[in-house]
Symmetry: C2
Subunit: 223 residues, 2 copies
DNA sequence: TGAATAGTGTCTTTCAGACAATATGCC
DNA sequence: GGCATATTGTCTGAAAGACACTATTCA
């Protein structure tokens, strides 16, 4: 094969799709875009788009995140690549899915030029979705559930400083079960991922809570 | 964006690369191909090639596995997609890496038409590699080490029936540490992934060993 | 002083890890 | 009988899980 034979085969298109999740109203939510163009015009879909010839996959994912969701500096990891032949009616399109998390406070919806509308949906009550996006979101949800127990990715869902009860709530929502407060604190503090800021906040008529922060705001695995 | 705008952007090429591992001579080995063509002609590289327009990513990986390594029906999972802009000197090439395991008995080296030679190398003593393939193999090795402790993927490295001491050896090689025989057996049998076949084999002048088999020869996660 | 949320300790159970003697078949 | 490998159980320490009361602030 000669050097120019890179063009011997017909090339597929490559897109990135981003599953951006947050916690809002006590539920896990996913950002979806109402498609303004065919195919699947008018249906809900993941934000995403074609990878430019001169940008890396991760760069493309960050660009989409900014263009279509108006968020940046989020937790972002590559999820999986989906390459079934018929997954896009326009032709052969391989998509690399990225998984992102944001905290409730930063998110602002900023519809982009090629999307009518961006909206948050509960991850467990999704509308009908375009392409194979339902499958992709299910995949992301499973990854999140697994990974929250052996990594610090919860930082992606919280502001810089937070109460332990807020953190516990994040775990409860994602794992979909209630946790014992004492055991949770014993465990999470034993992991040495958090530090106390020394500051306290008072929420309504109640005892003030210590504010904690993650020692590192980049991915750390344990176990 | 209209339906035909799938062609609006210049398309990257998409390849699959396969990291095929086995255990041989008490070591973890990786199959490499000596490249018969530019770029990196004469250097060692992972088996792989372009994804055909009408085959899925996994199909492409299986095809490469068969064409370049002569093996089929192996354990195969998608590893990660590598999409740095300059990773291939020929132009923009995104590769989807697949991770495969085979047991020693089935493997036969069958050099393909576009490879001079296929050869097994110890995963911990690799030659200089083409492209970013060193990074990809490191990635695969980490995945294997992590996953063997919470999945049944060891089945991919063993024949249908095997002795517990063979299985233990697989774990010892991958984790790179010796394991206590009694504790290992207690653990692995407690996982309920194995069943006794009722058969025994005698190796040399020694007590016959019970042969076991995995209940399922497809991926199962636990923990 | 009552309502709301924060903060804390003990007991029990489970699981991981250290550790050595006996059993079986072949030569 | 000697060699090689297989098979088996107990003790200990660490971590996970069950469980309830006191502390602080504000209205």
């Amino acid at each position: 094969m000669k050097a120019q034979d890179i063009n011997k085969f017909e090339k597929p298109s490559v897109t990135v799709d981003v599953i951006l999740m947050t916690i809002d109203e006590g539920r896990l939510k996913v950002l979806l875009i109402k498609r303004g163009i065919e195919p699947f015009k008018g249906q809900w879909a993941l934000p995403g788009g074609f990878v430019r010839i001169d940008e890396s996959l991760e760069k493309a994912a960050r660009r989409e995140l900014k263009e279509e969701a108006g968020v940046k500096n989020e937790y972002l990891e590559q999820l999986y690549s989906f390459g079934e032949v018929k997954r896009d009616p326009r032709g052969r399109v391989i998509t690399v899915a990225y998984f992102a998390l944001t905290n409730n406070s930063q998110r602002k919806l900023k519809p982009s030029f090629d999307a009518d509308e961006a909206q948050w949906f509960p991850a467990l009550h999704l509308p009908k979705l375009a392409f194979d996006h339902k499958k992709i979101i299910d995949f992301a949800y499973k990854r999140l559930r697994a990974k929250i127990s052996y990594s610090n990715i919860a930082y992606g869902l919280l502001p810089d400083k937070f109460r332990l009860s807020e953190l516990q709530k994040v775990y409860e929502i994602i794992l979909d079960k209630t946790l014992d407060k004492r055991n949770f604190r014993k465990w999470i503090l034993g992991l040495k991922l958090l530090e106390s800021t020394g500051q306290k906040v008072t929420i309504g008529a109640s005892r003030p809570a210590e504010l904690y922060r993650f020692l590192q705001r980049e991915p750390v695995l344990f176990d």
